[in-house]
């Protein structure tokens, strides 16, 4: 019974953090894609003529900010894997990842 409770305890933690990272990061990536395509959505006029609409420059800036965020998160993930075996672990001081010795 205690084992079961311990597993439940572990599960909800994994679920909460996993949801934040596993569903949150793809959502940020998707927002980036949406920002990137800002202005390109209506390149066919109602009468059928094709008008080339250039993407909005601000959309591009926002998009690359979002992508950078996702890439940084992935890099933190890789750093974690690489350093975990060397006896280091990542703790989160607020939102900033900090490396500490185990």
């Amino acid at each position: 019974m205690e084992q079961f409770l311990a597993a439940l305890d572990g599960s909800w933690r994994v679920l909460a953090i996993g949801m934040l990272l596993g569903a949150g990061l793809p959502a940020v990536f998707a927002l980036g894609l949406r920002a990137l395509s800002w202005g390109t959505g209506h390149d066919v006029a109602p009468d059928g003529t094709v008008a080339v609409v250039r993407p909005h420059p601000l959309g591009r800036v926002v998009a690359y900010l979002m992508f950078t965020f996702v890439v940084l998160a992935v890099l933190v993930g890789i750093t974690y894997i690489a350093l975990h075996g060397l006896g280091w672990t990542i703790t989160f001081n607020g939102a900033v990842p900090v490396l500490t010795h185990k």
Binding site: A6, G10, S11, A30, L33, V70, G77, I78
Partner: protein, 412 residues
Amino acid sequence: MNDVTPEFILLALVVVTALAFDFTNGFHDTANAMATSIATKALTPKAAVTLSAILNLVGAFLSVEVAITVTNAVIRIQNTDGSPRAELMADGGHGLLLILMAGLAGAIIWNILTWLWGLPSSSSHALFGGLIGATVASMGWGGVKWVGEGYKLDGVVGKVVLPALMSPAIAILVAMVGTRLVFWITRKVAARYQESGFRWGQIGTASLLSLSHGTNDAQKTMGVITLALIASGWWTDTAEIPLWVKIACAVAIGSGTYIGGWRIIRTMGKGLVEISSPQGMAAESASAAVILTSSQLGFALSTTHVCTGSIIGSGLGRKGATVRWGVAGRMGLAWLTTLPLAGLVAAALWWLGHAIGGSTGAFVVFGIMCAAAIYMRWHSKRDPISHHNVNDEWSDSKDDTEVDVPVSGGVR
């Protein structure tokens, strides 16, 4: 000590068998990281297995964390510091080596059988199942740590059974929410941008998964080999793994990954859900997040269960997408049976090896394992799946007649 004694031959057989298990672990799990990238054509099949193999190789070298106590979670053949129990050390560690030999052979046979059926089953469950079976055969039921004590997750129930029940559910939820969000956010984005953008995301997450697989799974085999070396007196340090063991394990898991378990890749990438790039990325992100989070929190779970759960979740999260529950059900059956059946095979092999005795017994066990592997490899030729046809349309009828029958018929 340095003569070629029967104990040395037994040790060599155990090491070779452990490396063979690591190899099967590699090809069995290629699908976890790469199935969705291959199915959505984010990567060509060859590029996918090459990338995954390199990252597994690199990952294996990163796993320098001491893994010698790997068996302690489920069986009682080691002391808490990692050294083998004294009673198993007699005769140059013969007792312990035979347990490892039979356990690994049972795990390999089950891994190849599930590969033949194209079912992703957990390699860790197969390894633990094999070791548990061989231990029960050798030391009785008391040799296995069934339930951990108190609130620390341990034993077969805490380290294997409960995480196996929870982890697919967690992964399904995360991937379902992720998929739904991603489709909702990009609903007005041109399909062209959607596909190409998410393919890049997929490659990133698949790489992350491959790397973490290398670090997690290779070190289990490293631990087993080092334990065998300690038992037979060839190595004494319980805090360090010999360099050649690291290199051999890294190469074994990397080359296994490169060979690619195409049958399993096909089932996971095409059989469960017709997957698109956004779904693929959501599924892989969910897997990577759940696996890394749980290893940070010390909650042991199986990569295979998480990745399969994520793919199912990505099917549930997309409106109009269907999950082939027949395929999912067969996988579920394979998950439930992996541990007990790998255990039964290992127990039978241990009894046989013990009855014959000496290094002859170990040779017979090794021979049976090789014969079984060759037979199943030969059997797979009837219905070959390779990087040429891994992405062909999935047909349920063909699949049902060929896969259902052996599953319901039990182990051969």
